[in-house]
Amino acid sequence: MKDQRNLIYAGFALLLLLSPLFLNRYWVDVLNSVGLYAILGLSLNIIVGYAGMFHMGHAAFYAVGAYTTAILNTTYGVPVLWAMPLSGFLAGLFALIVARPIIHLRGDYLLIVTIGLVEIVRIALINDVFGITGGSNGIFGIDRPEIFGYRIRKPAQFFYLIWAFAAVTVYLFHRLENSRFGRALTYLREDEVAAEGSGINTAHYKLAAFVIGAIWAGMIGTVFAAKMTIVSPESFSFWESVVMFMIVILGGSGSIPGVILGAFLVIGLPELFRGFANARMLFFGAAMVFMMIFRTQGIIPPRPRKYPIDEATP
């Protein structure tokens, strides 16, 4: 059973890898969007899926990363991809500062606070905070990224950049999931009180999950800025956070393949429905409800962890 699943994933990865060869530019670009959101979803998954915190403001960290890249590139001439570490770092730092006082809020109270956070960030961006965000115009004229002197411009080139990033993300997060840290988060999500009783510093772990998710969102902000060549406040609205949230829950909270599939559905379906013209979002809304009803745990829920005893005992 497990092998069969892995076979499916491998086949899927291969298909994806070869897809620019037989898809046209538009569909490759759709896959680029899917890839970006898959990575965003995976980063949010650490907070929502593993640590079980209701966080609907992920676009705030994404925005910090994208704007950091845009400012570094257009004002200081830093090559786009070089801006990535600092973008991630600042997004993480921002998360650390804002999450510290709110991390103890439970469930829905945390949800509204994170919504408030993303709204405050968006309003700050529109109002040209510190005079560096360009207000509602945003920042434009961001360079295309360059790797070893090779300039990335076309959708197919971005495809490999984005999905390579996605592959690295999957690998790292898979390792994280099975690490001591990941297990602690799972424990904390399942029973916070018991986790605390077992000597897990819950506030510390929650904060760490928040910061890791934010760092990753900030780094993907770099890729977004490079791809769009313009960043503006519209791209970081509350709705954007909602989209990321839906990706995680619909795909299967806490499950890496689930989140990737969620990105395909939430980003891909509105594109597939373009044929319905003005009704495309209507069908999308209905599809969301029905998919959720039929797979109430998400489409690919995480597999329960098994620890075979007979191998461990001699």
């Binding site: 103890h104 949230f245 829950i249 209507l282 009803i293 109430t296």
Partner: protein, 301 residues
């Protein structure tokens, strides 16, 4: 000082509507622990249905403004209440036993669905309520200009809130709702039809939202299909501010949010007004993690 009081009345008018919508959030949340993100769109449906009924049936011509609007409000509330029950049956009921966030995503899907349904039925352009249905009078109190209709709107929200509060506190059904909110399992064991209670809740909450939609239409005159999203978000904020699940909390939270927005716009900055409101919310939650009137009980021990 005159400006301060003028802004206070501005805030109260906005806050009254927030409070009315917030009640729907808080009632549903109280019983189901579900954030009904489609609630804002039920509010929009209310304002569009109100417009259709108002123009097609000419109630205010036949019955005069007062009884015409009253009958209209009752019809809108019943219809939106029915939509609310249908929404619950289709989109939420199958998700009762599943993780809470699954229902949230279902609610978001329903919100997108409703919004686009309204757009396809009524078209994407703005719709306008006929003018002069309600007498346009301005009351001058101590140098403050207060349009009569604003007093009526505030009065209507207060009346509806008090009626709801009495209903919840004094009647048998109200007691059943409170019992189900406290502990669904125990309520079931005490012979309370919890599914029936949920249906009632999903009738009353959306009905109040629909009434708020009608009031916004009558008061501001202009409705469009995306307006529910902003109002819904504001009302959700208000419900949390007051302590979600708590009915007086929703009222206090709504009024307070309206006043904070008005005063923030007046004395700090108009453009930062929403950010100020959220900042105040966050500060309040840091000090009181379950809102102003929320119960301070530790969860799950």
């Amino acid at each position: 000082m005159e400006q301060f009081f003028q802004q206070l009345t501005n805030g109260l008018a906005v806050g009254g509507i927030y409070a009315l919508i917030a009640l729907g959030y808080t009632m549903v949340y109280g019983v189901l622990k579900l954030i009904n993100f489609a609630h804002g769109d039920l509010f929009t449906i209310g304002s569009y249905l109100g417009l259709t009924l108002l123009t097609s049936m000419a109630l205010t011509d036949k019955l005069g403004p007062f009884f015409g609007i009253l009958l209209l409000a009752v019809m809108v509330m019943i219809l939106v209440g029915i939509v609310g029950i249908l929404l619950d049956q289709v989109a939420y009921r199958p998700l009762r036993e599943s993780p809470r966030l699954s229902a949230v995503v279902s609610a978001l899907g329903a919100s997108i669905f409703f919004q686009n349904t309204i757009m396809l039925i009524y078209g994407a352009s703005f719709h306008v309520y006929p003018q002069n249905i309600l007498p346009r009078m301005v009351v001058n109190v101590f140098g403050l200009h207060i349009p009569m209709i604003r007093i009526l709107v505030l009065l209507a929200s207060v009346v509806m809130m008090l009626a709801l509060y009495t209903f919840i506190q004094k009647t048998t059904i109200g007691t059943a709702i409170r019992a189900a909110a406290e502990d669904q399992g125990a309520a079931k064991l005490m012979g309370i039809d919890v599914n029936g209670v949920i249906m009632i809740v999903f009738f009353i909450g959306p009905a109040l939202g629909g009434a708020a939609g009608l009031m916004v239409g009558l008061y501001y005159g202009q409705v469009n299909f995306t307006m529910g999203w902003i109002y819904g978000l504001k009302a959700f904020t208000a419900a949390i501010l007051g302590g979600i699940g708590n009915i007086p909390g929703a009222m206090v939270g709504g009024i307070l949010l309206g006043v904070i927005e008005a005063l923030g716009a007046a004395y700090i900055s108009i453009a930062w007004k929403d950010a100020i409101a959220f900042l105040v919310l966050i500060l309040i939650l840091i000090v009181r993690p379950t809102g102003l009137l929320g119960e301070r009980v530790a969860e799950k021990i």
